[in-house]
């Protein structure tokens, strides 16, 4: 039995194509409005006059990078800590799950989670979330998101082993400070990644939110 399963994500290879997120939706037949995996496009830079030709605007350090995140199956999960009914729990292998029979749909976990991982089901009146494709893992298969990535930017495994292989970077902007919940997550940053909390860039959507 694993001690703590985790995800590895390579932002330097991620194009933001959302194949992982759609594979996730497909695997669990999630309706519109329920998303267990999120893609965040983040970018910055701008346009400035060319010093040699003031009428001409040139691109100045324009960059974009994408982040693919799901439940982080945190070592110190905020969702579990706030759940009033113990519906949200952490399994021996570190996977954070929700027991729908105990969930009363109060949505405290949704409010507490800095990653937006628990998703409320209007239809069922309970919380749902990434279960790390535990059924597939039990069959010796990979989580759907991992097998979907056309750029091979997602992996999963024992967190200690992922750290040994890929280092211990756990966040870049605009992800939350990893000290809040200690996510079971390791990443390779994009070359233009901005530090956590810097606010140097913007989330590139019409709402400005993920």
């Amino acid at each position: 039995m694993a001690k703590q399963l985790g995800f590895y994500f390579d932002s330097s290879a991620c194009t933001g194509c959302k194949a992982c997120a759609i594979a996730c939706k497909d695997r669990s037949s999630l309706p519109v409005g329920t998303n267990w995996r999120h893609i965040t496009d983040y970018g910055g830079g701008g346009w400035v006059p060319d010093p040699n030709h003031p009428d001409l605007l040139i691109a100045n350090n324009i960059y974009v990078y994408s982040l693919s995140t799901s439940c982080m199956h945190c070592e110190d999960p905020a969702c579990v800590n706030v759940c009033p009914t113990t519906a949200m729990y952490k399994r021996d292998d570190g996977i954070v799950l929700v027991d729908a029979s105990k969930c009363i749909g109060c949505r405290y976990c949704e409010w507490a989670c800095p990653y937006g991982a628990p998703q409320f089901s209007e239809e069922k009146g309970v919380m749902t979330k990434c279960d790390f494709c535990q059924d597939l893992q039990a069959q010796g298969l990979d989580p759907a998101c991992v097998d979907a990535c056309p750029m091979r930017a997602l992996e999963f495994g024992e967190l200690d082993e992922l750290r040994a292989k890929y280092g211990d970077v756990q966040a870049v902007d605009p992800l939350p400070d990893p000290n809040i919940t200690h996510p079971s997550f390791v990443m390779t940053p994009h070359k233009n990644s901005q530090p956590v909390g810097s606010g140097n860039g913007k989330i590139l959507t019409v709402s400005g939110k993920v």
């Binding site: 194509c17 497909d26 519109v32 346009w47 605007l57 040139i58 691109a59 324009i62 979907a148 056309p150």
Partner: protein
């Protein structure tokens, strides 16, 4: 619950869940006779009982969109319903031997197939009458369910009536039955590959013969990606192949109006350029290479290749009788026949300096110069582009100008080099197929279409409305279109000039669509016939790329009353009396097996071949087809089960492809298919063939023609830089939500990828527009409204509307609410008659009318609320 209530409930759900689907099937099963004799529901109900305890099976499933990705789809089928999908896991994954992984579109196929908006029954417009009735109701009328018999009778009688009344040439588009009974007018003109369609084979080589294979591309030192974004436009593996080149050390430079998703991962440098201004940029790069080259101290030009393998570079290699200053060098340097600077008014005036180009393309002259020098000094360089730069009005020269640079910098025919088109299914991996399929063995001949009139795509809606079309040089010809038949292809959506197209649809006497959703063409038709998707048929066998072959099986029985296109055509042909009822075509499965049985695969030596599959008598029996046993590389049943066979590859194998390698080495022994056998920087045939089409006279060298609706036309006064009524450029880009227009109705893709209009913060601010506002985008054709994504990723002065959104024309507001690119695009026939999708001028303002719900919350197009 009554059946009627049950159906109402089922159909208001966004997707047919397995539970509701089975309940529906069971309900219909008891009354199958009511459904026009189609016993689908009954069969499913029985199958459900038999397989109640089964856990389902994985079936290789077609991913048939025209996106260029061509990835492996596998469907988990339980009791006739697909509950899940997966992609390629047929072999362990590695960069050399990668799985053919699908994208978000492919992984949404089951949402398309089982969407609650699937067309379920033949339908007619409530107020339809022979001859059309009130034709202005098209697009607004209610729909009425009819039987197949009634539907086919209507279609056959309208074909006869219209052909009798107006004669041959009155039906636009059609099938074999229409060809045999009346004939139909077809349309023509390059869409995907823009002006490369004419340029490539005349100037250098067929489009499929450009670029090297993916393992050779790992040897590139520098890869130029000009107007290409493979991760969006091809999906699947191409971007992953490029990532291997990057890991192997290649530098990537992207030239594009937009900082693309491919660029965000691959680019070391981005050179922003205005749409449609690539030719001036390329000419100025040529100017730089010629003027800065010094064979002794600064060798930039591959003179050996220029001298041996090209004509028309300078006046020493021109065909007889050509004016001596009609060559690439003199044009670029702006010289006359005497070698002096050409005077104002001279055909070669002015010199195509980086300063000259910069004013047009927006790239600083210093950058044009340094970029040209960098690609001249670096070896080898892969000099690649998609076709977006050629989907521009008047842009016939861009391909030739591109080839000229590739020729000068020595990219053609060398390892680590490559040039030209990297696109569609062959993006990042060119070369001949390693597996070639056999013939399908069909037995019936396609009838000849007796109508020879063909209308250019740009003029088709005008031709319907005005009765005139261009047929070469000279006065326009007459035509009288009175019926439109949308079959296999959403023409009203994917053809430029859609605003006129809607008017045209309301002019003709009869309009018919066969499709599986209420696509734009279907919505404006009188009769709509539901067809099966590729998941409901056998017969999908394809080469997704040069290394693999897929064989998708029939996944489920046809849903509701959907029928194959071939069945519809057959029934029509029988009614029209043009088909012999005693003849039948071989089955789709037999055709598929024939193609597989005849397939050959290249052996490890890279030269000899062997049959792909072994077949035994038992296999033929199990498949229920005829054939002969044979010996091949893999058992046929293994192939059918996996759905994929892929040739393993590794560096140093014998499958490397280097485009035009032999031609480079010895152009006399290995000539090109061009008139001279050489690369034609002077191409008389291109000039003659294009000029003969009747729209634009062009020169035989890549001379720049400012495009209609390009950058220059955003000004009313170019000299004084006074902007005109449509001051912004707009272009279209392939978008993850869709494969062209396919998938636009899939809710989870609408949620993941909103149809946003993109503009730069500088242009937005000047108009008081903020990120997330609804804006009104107006072109000469009409207006669309859309949420705006204000982003620095796009150049100032340039806007982008992603390609393919299904138009939602609001009659009361007078705007398209979906952001349909072709609604704003105009049909502008120029040069070879390609569609210039990437050249349009628009104005943008803040929209103060009613707001827009998020795309995923729009009602699905479910035409029949009750069965």
């Amino acid at each position: 619950m009554t059946e009627k209530n049950f159906l109402t409930k089922t159909l208001t759900e966004t997707m047919l869940t397995r539970r509701s689907f089975l309940k529906w099937s069971a309900a219909l099963g008891g009354t199958a006779a009511l459904a026009g004799g189609v016993s689908y529901g009954l069969k499913v109900a029985q199958a459900t009982a038999e397989k109640a305890a089964s856990e389902g099976e994985w079936v290789p499933a077609a991913c048939w969109g025209n996106c260029g990705g061509r990835c492996l789809n596998v469907a988990h089928v339980v009791d006739g319903v697909v509950t899940r999908q997966k992609t390629d896991d047929t072999h362990p994954d590695s960069p050399d031997f990668p799985q053919q992984r699908g994208c978000s579109r492919g992984r949404s196929q089951r949402q398309r197939v089982f969407g609650a908006d699937r067309l379920k029954y033949p339908m007619k417009r409530a107020h339809w009458e022979p001859g059309g009735g009130d034709k202005s109701l098209r697009g607004k009328d209610e729909w009425v369910r009819i039987s197949w018999d009634e539907a086919l009778d209507i279609v056959a009688s309208e074909i006869k009536r219209i052909n009798d009344k107006y004669g041959p040439g009155s039906i636009l588009w059609g099938t074999n039955a229409v060809a045999a009974a009346a004939g139909y007018v077809n349309t023509w003109g390059s869409t995907s590959s823009g002006t490369w369609a004419y340029t490539a084979p005349r100037v250098i080589t067929s489009q499929s013969n450009m670029g090297n294979d993916r393992l050779d591309m790992r040897k590139s030192k520098l890869i130029v990606m000009w107007s290409t974004d493979p991760i969006c436009s091809s999906g699947g593996s191409p971007a992953y192949h490029y990532l291997q080149s990057k890991k192997a050390g290649a530098k990537f430079i992207f030239v594009d109006p937009f900082f693309t998703n491919s660029a965000q991962v691959l680019a070391d440098e981005w050179i922003p350029i205005r749409p449609g201004t690539d030719t001036p940029m390329l000419l100025a790069m040529g100017y730089t290479l010629i003027t800065e080259d010094d064979p002794a101290t600064n060798p930039l030009i591959d003179w050996d290749f220029i001298k041996k393998n090209t004509i028309g570079f300078d006046n020493t290699s021109l065909p007889d009788g050509v004016e001596p200053d009609e060559n690439y060098r003199d044009y670029v340097l702006g010289l006359d026949a005497s070698g002096h600077p050409a005077p104002v008014g001279h055909k070669n005036y002015p010199a195509k300096t980086p300063e000259w180009a910069s004013e047009i393309c927006g790239v600083p002259p210093e950058k044009i110069r340094s970029f040209a020098i960098e690609i001249g000094q670096t070896n080898p360089v892969a000099f690649m582009q998609s076709d977006a730069l050629a989907r521009v009005n008047n842009a016939q020269s861009v391909g030739q100008a591109f080839v000229a640079i590739a020729a000068m910098i020595g990219s053609i025919g060398v390892s680590g080099g490559g040039f030209g088109q990297t696109r569609h299914a062959a993006a990042g991996n060119r070369g001949p197929n390693l597996i070639n399929l056999g013939s399908s063995g069909t037995v019936l001949d396609s009838p000849k279409n007796p109508v020879s009139a063909r209308i250019n795509n740009n003029e088709v809606w005008d031709a319907v409305l005005t009765g005139k079309y261009t047929d070469g040089v000279g006065p326009k010809k007459d035509i009288n279109i009175q019926m439109v038949y949308h079959t296999k292809g959403s023409r009203l959506q994917t053809t430029v000039g859609q605003a006129k197209g809607i008017q045209a649809m309301r002019k003709v006497e009869f309009a018919l669509t066969t499709d599986f959703h209420l696509t734009t063409g279907a919505r404006y038709s009188d009769v709509v016939l539901p067809v099966t998707t590729m998941w409901e048929r056998d017969g999908y066998v394809t080469n997704p790329n040069r290394e693999a072959v897929f064989w998708a099986s029939k996944v489920i029985d046809p849903l509701f009353e959907a029928q194959d296109d071939a069945w519809i055509d057959w029934q029509l042909g029988l009614r029209l009396g043009v088909y012999d009822p005693n003849l039948t075509e071989i089955s789709n499965l037999q055709q598929a097996v024939n193609r597989v049985a005849g397939a050959t695969v290249v052996k490890e030596d890279g030269k000899t071949t062997e049959p792909l599959v072994s077949i035994t008598e038992d296999d033929l029996k199990a498949l229920g087809v005829t054939g002969e046993p044979q010996t091949g590389r893999i058992p046929i049943m293994d192939f059918k089960k996996a759905g994929s066979y892929q040739v393993p590859r590794s560096e140093g194998d014998n499958f490397t492809f280097i485009a035009l390698k032999d031609f480079r080495k010895d152009p006399v022994a290995n000539p090109l298919d061009t008139e001279s056998g050489l690369v034609e920087l002077y191409c008389q045939k291109l000039a003659d063939d294009v000029t003969a089409l009747g729209w634009t006279a062009i020169r035989a060298i890549p001379a720049y023609i400012p495009p209609e609706r390009g950058y220059e036309t955003t000004f009313s006064d170019w000299e004084n830089k006074v902007k005109g009524p449509y001051p912004l450029q707009m272009y279209n880009k392939h978008y993850w939500r869709r494969s062209h227009s396919e998938f636009d109705n899939v809710l989870q893709l609408r949620e993941a990828f909103q149809q946003e209009f993109l503009m730069n913060p500088i242009d937005a601010e000047a108009r008081g527009i903020k990120n997330g506002d609804i804006v009104k985008i107006t072109s000469s054709e009409g207006s669309s409204i859309r949420p705006v994504l204000v982003t620095d990723r796009i150049m100032p002065g340039v806007t982008q509307l992603p390609h393919g959104a299904w138009t939602e024309y609001d009659e009361s507001l007078g705007v398209d609410k979906a952001g349909s690119d072709n609604y704003l695009e105009a049909g502008v026939p120029t040069v070879e008659g390609h569609s210039g999708f990437n050249s349009q001028n628009v104005q943008v303002e803040k929209w103060n009318g009613p707001g827009l719900a998020p795309d995923a919350q729009w009602p699905q197009r479910i035409p029949l609320k009750e069965a």
